[in-house]
Symmetry: C2
DNA sequence: CACAACTATGCATTCTGTGCAATGTTTGCT
DNA sequence: AGCAAACATTGCACAGAATGCATAGTTGTG
């Protein structure tokens, strides 16, 4: 079950990114209002029908594909006996390492979210998917009874991470490796607030 | 600029709630898949066109209207010299007090989210609106420079609150007044996790 | 009452999203 | 290489979502 990279898989990934690039660049130049799936398909050099083979809807094309923890990371996390939260951050480090980050794309997304704020809720809806994965990890260690607590922690971490992504996207000097470090700093800020309770 | 309750306003609110009730009950009985705006309109006793006069889209009808802080609360918060986070929670208390909560409706939403998990991201996208309001409050006190920190805190609080709502919806013995108390307890759990850093 | 502001609705239209069937491409197997 | 299964692309048809516009009715106000 190793990761086999066939021609088909490579093309699929490439087409998927090309569609997202087309969607983002058109949304930025022409505005998200009035952007149609036909325009995106034309810009990406595919048919409208094929567009819908790749993405369930227009928003999904803007957001792009969701990353996932690989099995090794999940296994490592479950077996680790270190403290929970630092281990979660370590898992995130692995995730960011395996998924090759594209700063240019992140920059486009950030600019689009500034230009078309109506997309922000959609983006946060999609962030929920990452949060769910984090929550699943926590439950692996603490058990299903801790699901509610796990959700809460996962939300905080995923939002701190999303926050960090915007910083990283706009700072060419910032290394991808330091993303999780900055995320940790953001979480410490949050803890500072909660110390008021 | 007091709150005048004309016949028009009352009817509007009533129709809006009737539409949401129709949408929720149909989604629960027939399934969200295959639920059309025409069905909702028919069940609510209005035309499809009128449905779209009340809600921007089908999802918005399910979620219902978003609550807002009233001007007095905003003014009170800005002038208060108490610690930030407890004041935020106090503002939430006022918000929940003024918006008359409907446990039955919240219960329906909770059941629907369990039955149709594809709606969860949409719900979280809408929760962002409340979060934005909280963030605006924080910025009133700390200034625009603290926007990023404000967002982070607001996200944590709003998710803790959403969490509490689900508990409240399913526990008839729980008083609406205690919602913010439970939310505070949830935030303390979160702080406990973050103490691992 | 008279007039402005708002509401409901029908109709036409554009866009989204899905199912299906036909045709072509890639893969794995012998 | 040759073959069959799996997968990808596309066109077409169609149901549903959402908007603009015109019209007729209702409510608020002086």
């Amino acid at each position: 079950m190793a990761l086999k990279s066939t021609l088909r898989d490579r093309r699929r990934l490439q087409t998927s990114r090309e569609i997202q690039r087309a969607a983002l660049s058109l949304a930025l130049s022409q505005g998200y209002e009035g952007l149609t799936t036909e325009m995106i398909a034309a810009e990406a050099g595919i048919s409208q029908r094929t567009f819908f083979n790749y993405f369930l809807n227009k928003e999904a094309a803007i957001i792009g594909e969701t990353v996932s923890f690989d099995e090794e990371t999940v296994a490592w996390f479950r077996e680790s006996s270190g403290p929970l939260v630092p281990d979660l951050l370590q898992a995130l480090r692995r995730l960011l390492c395996s998924s090759d980050l594209d700063r240019g794309m992140s920059q486009l997304i950030d600019r689009l979210l500034n230009k078309a704020p109506e997309l922000v809720p959609i983006f946060y809806g999609s962030l929920k998917r990452l949060s769910d994965q984090l929550s699943d990890l926590v439950v692996l260690r603490l058990g299903q009874d801790a699901r509610a607590d796990a959700d809460l922690l996962a939300e905080a971490i995923s939002h701190a991470l999303a926050d960090t992504f915007r910083i990283w996207a706009n700072d060419d000097a910032m290394s991808p490796d330091s993303i999780v470090d900055v995320t940790t700093a953001r979480l410490l800020v949050l803890r500072g607030f909660l110390d008021q309770l």
